[in-house]
């Protein structure tokens, strides 16, 4: 089938934004499933005790493992991560959404908070 003829909801290019769609969801399934497991305190403890074993248990690929080792959110998104599940990973390291925002935008947390505040001006 001609791919061009079956484009639903055609994605526009939005700078700095990855649309989490079917292809991202398939790519990131193992990573997101691992992060979803962090809803349970027992699972969080098991991860902290041996992250590498936990990566293997959930079948993360090398790109996903390395992104997690680096605690790098942009890399985790590139590897198929969805921010709602990644937030649970970040929570283990006591990082909130402003820490995560600062990391992704190359700012300090204080600079990022100023940016948010200035949106109200």
């Amino acid at each position: 089938m001609d791919r061009e003829s079956v484009r639903f909801d055609p994605h526009t290019t939005i700078e700095g934004t990855t649309i989490f769609d079917g292809s991202q969801a398939m790519k990131g399934y193992a990573l997101n499933k691992m992060c979803y497991s962090f809803n349970s305190a027992d699972n969080r403890d098991e991860f902290v005790a041996d992250p590498e074993a936990y990566f293997t248990k959930f079948g993360l690929n090398d790109e996903q493992k390395q992104a997690c080792r680096n605690k790098n959110v942009l890399e985790m998104i590139a590897a198929g991560g969805n921010i709602y599940y990644l937030a649970k990973f970040a929570g283990i390291y006591k990082l909130d959404v402003q820490d995560v925002g600062a990391q992704q935008t190359g700012m300090t947390k204080q600079q990022f908070q100023e940016k948010l505040k200035s949106a109200g001006d």
Binding site: T12, T17, K33, C35, N39, V100
Partner: protein, 282 residues
């Protein structure tokens, strides 16, 4: 017969759950946000709905990508709040109304909305934070209504269109008004407004777009229904798609509503926070 008394909107930011737990109501950062709620609580104490339909979006507690319902309706006797992984305090269960839930499910499917019914559903901050804001101490508040949670997918594209969300609300209205019991019903649309948590564009907030949405949700929701999903991502941010919940709520209120109260504040956490009370025409 059942009647719909009005609709409420609220952001459902997790940080609010923590601020409530720590009672930060008068801190300079939080005050302009929390000040938006007492007039609504006063209205609630006078009107005392029997049931609250809480339209929210799950963020990875009740549902995962293994099975992702586009529209899910709770049909349980109670709804548990569980550990979400990053430390907001857990609340006791919220009381359900499964008889009304099944009536809604039957009516919606008859009306061609193919929904997912949930006899167990763990509800996350998207559900609990607005309940705490409107009914302090929830679920232990003496005026606590029974609840029917409705969750729409905004985790994974394709998400519903804005038109579908509004139409869902209209079908929900039909379902509620055909319920034979004499109950008063309130409809909550939670989430938003503009925010983006992920990517190099993290921290994006769009005050002009939010203000436009808060105006048109009252006067012309049909105009909002014409916004495409990608346009919504672009103008409201990747997670600003939660505005779909407001559209679903609005559809359930009928053509004409009376906006009794409104509050908007930037920023709460990474979000433009919008709170509204829309009363249904008598």
């Amino acid at each position: 017969m059942a009647h719909i008394i009005g609709g409420l909107t609220s952001s459902h930011i997790p940080a609010v759950g923590n601020a409530i737990a720590k009672e930060l109501f008068d801190e300079p950062y939080w005050k302009p946000f929390f000040e938006g709620y007492p007039p609504i609580r006063e209205w609630l104490s006078r009107n005392k709905p029997d049931v609250a339909i809480n339209i929210y979006n799950d963020h990875g507690l009740g549902f995962f990508l293994d099975c992702m319902p586009t529209f899910a309706i709770g049909a349980a006797h109670e709804y548990r709040n569980e550990d979400e992984g990053w430390g907001i305090p857990q609340l006791p269960p919220f009381p359900g109304d499964p008889k009304l839930s099944w009536h809604i499910i039957e009516s919606m499917v008859e009306d061609h909305f193919d929904i997912t019914s949930c006899q167990e559903l763990a509800v996350d901050h998207g559900f609990t934070v607005p309940m705490q804001l409107f009914w302090p101490g929830a679920p232990s508040n003496p005026d606590m209504p029974r609840v029917v949670p409705i969750s729409a997918n905004t985790v994974q594209h394709p998400i519903p269109t804005l038109q579908r969300a509004l139409d869902f609300g209209k079908a929900l209205r039909k379902a509620l008004l055909s319920y034979p019991e004499d109950v008063s019903i309130l409809v909550l649309g939670t989430g938003g407004l503009s925010h983006q948590l992920d990517g190099e564009r993290a921290g994006f907030i769009n005050k002009d777009f939010d203000k436009m949405c808060m105006e048109k949700i009252v006067t012309d929701p049909e105009a909002l229904a014409k916004i495409s999903r990608m346009e919504l991502v672009e103008k409201a941010g990747a997670q600003g798609t939660e505005f779909l919940m407001w559209m679903m709520m609005r559809g359930a209120l009928g053509e004409s509503v009376n906006p009794l109260h409104s509050n908007y504040h930037i920023p709460i956490s990474n979000t433009g926070a919008g709170t509204m009370l829309l009363e249904c025409a008598a």
